[in-house]
Symmetry: C2
Subunit: 338 residues, 2 copies
């Protein structure tokens, strides 16, 4: 308990330099016999290397800071599990924080990351406060932003192809003959991933020669309830949609609940395409047609992007990686009524 490298050296009858070399498997090899002596000493003493000391000396901590909007949210926790998996594989530890989409909190936590001397940072920025963007841009470690970005941030980005994802949903519904397609998204609208999804909706409509009707779009407050009201609003329009696309997993069930509340049936009266394909989407009633987003892979890809940059000794990451969503057709979509 609390044995240092010096204790090990003493016990093995060698110098601490040799112990260090042995433990790190360095090229200036130690002989097999001393190696064995050191190993037994390590085992006997229960020696555990002190990463703080190593970090201080080498300047690298084997720590990755991960800052997410909301780690309690199923989507983000799945992303996180991918990050964690990739980091563990590369022998990095991840220190995690949840910023609730508040830029000031984000800033504070990033500061904590710097104090811990993390080797790299993964995060998804919230609102664009110019001075914070400036401060972040000066961050001294490699950063990869997840899922969304902010104008002016000189970081790498790993995200879904949001526009394409919604495009898939629209095209599917159009192929089924729908022309009045509702779109329920959520606030704040300004975040890049949401803008992209809206653009995907608009572009796909345009591509199908369908005129855009602003009455078919709603934006709900973040959370588990406002989406119901927004969807109900949509349904009581004079010329209601025959299909609705939910722009994020949090809204899937809210859209379904609203439809039920209005006395309509899915898919007989109205079709629904969900988003993200949570593991329980196929258990819903009816099993939900959704745009499946590879959340876990997003985490893995982002972490690997960061880690390879670290291995290569690059002080910064740039460029953009987009992951392709896929449409999973189940039973919540059906031919449009004539």
């Amino acid at each position: 308990m609390g044995a240092t490298i010096e204790d090990v050296a003493k016990a093995a009858g060698v110098s601490i330099a040799t112990v260090s070399r042995y433990l790190n498997g360095r090229t200036e090899a130690v002989s097999a016999t001393t190696g064995a002596r050191i190993q037994t000493a390590v085992d006997r003493l229960g020696y555990v290397p002190n990463l703080a000391a190593r970090s201080l000396k080498t300047g690298r901590s084997r720590l990755i800071g991960v800052l997410l909007a909301n780690i309690a949210h199923p989507y983000w926790s799945t992303v996180l599990s991918g990050v964690e998996e990739a980091c563990q594989r590369a022998n990095y530890s991840v220190i995690v924080s949840s910023a609730s989409d508040r830029a000031d909190i984000e800033h504070r936590y990033l500061q904590m990351f710097l104090e811990q001397r993390v080797d790299g940072i993964l995060f998804n920025p919230a609102h664009a406060e110019p001075d914070l963007v400036a401060a972040w841009s000066a961050l001294s470690v490699p950063v990869v932003t997840l899922d969304r970005t902010l104008p002016g941030l000189p970081f790498g980005l790993v995200a879904m192809d949001n526009a394409r994802g919604i495009g898939l949903a629209v095209e599917h519904l159009v192929a089924l003959g729908h022309r009045r397609i509702g779109f329920v998204s959520w606030h704040p609208r300004s975040l890049s991933n949401r803008q992209e999804r809206l653009k995907g909706y608009l572009d796909a409509l345009a591509g199908a020669d369908i005129g855009f009707d602003p009455a078919l779009i709603r934006f709900a407050e973040d959370g588990w309830s406002d989406g119901v009201d927004c969807t109900v609003e949509l349904l009581v329009e004079p010329d209601p949609p025959t299909a609705i696309i939910s722009a994020t997993s949090m809204l899937n069930l809210q859209v379904l609940a609203a439809i039920k509340r209005c006395g309509l049936r899915v898919p007989e009266d109205i079709s629904v395409v969900g988003y993200d394909d949570s593991p329980w989407d196929e258990l819903l009633d009816p099993p939900l047609t959704t745009v499946a987003t590879p959340a876990r892979q997003l985490g893995v890809a982002a972490a690997e992007r960061l880690l390879t940059a670290l291995d290569a000794g690059e002080g910064t990451v740039t460029g953009e990686v987009r992951l392709l969503p896929q449409l999973v057709i189940r039973e919540s979509t059906r031919q449009a009524p004539p």
Copy 2:
């Protein structure tokens, strides 16, 4: 960038000891004027303290290791967010790992925590391998286990009152006149939280003078599909239950899906009580009566338990804290058929 305490000292024209004292707000106060000089130097140089060096010197890292069975699971990610909240409030960072219920992986990650010299550990142990239990018992930092424990572990425990939670469900159904109450739980059965839930079921039945019928119990494999099959099995029994209790959130939707697959309606034909009260449970069709477990509070309570022990300088945490679940009655339960 990369300024050390020495740079700050030089810039402010004082010694590094004074800078350190100022930064740590120690009792041997520094005068207001030097304090101001130091602060401007800090700001100008963009000095960021090096926690690795501090940790090395003080022996405390302000790091908490959190090891969970599965951080992608909504329940655990909610617990994690509570932990993170409490730790941030106390200025600790949390380093997190996901062990997939495999004891060998758990062991490896605990080792990594020790190397990082975490000040404390929160984790939920998986299977009881005697040699690992022995190794864990010798851990040199305070540990609190979350949600479940293992015989022989000398750690503090913060968990739900699992038996009482299921008891609430049974009592509610009994009050509605149900006497054949199915119970769907999940593997591995040996984990303490699952044993307690089973015990809660049996005790509550006994308390209501209802004989126990083993045909009414099923254990599903962990995951998002086997629960459906298990529930179907239950429903095709010669004398099927008039109500079913799902023992964990992961099974809620699987039970509902199975019932639907058998052509039965909830609650007309059969009542259902879910578990955990995920935020979307009230959006289901029908809105689910569930045993609400305060997952976030569990995380907060466990972290605070650990942190107060750390503050008090106690090297170990013992004792047990149980959080009380609450029954939330919605529309999936109804009077039993005569």
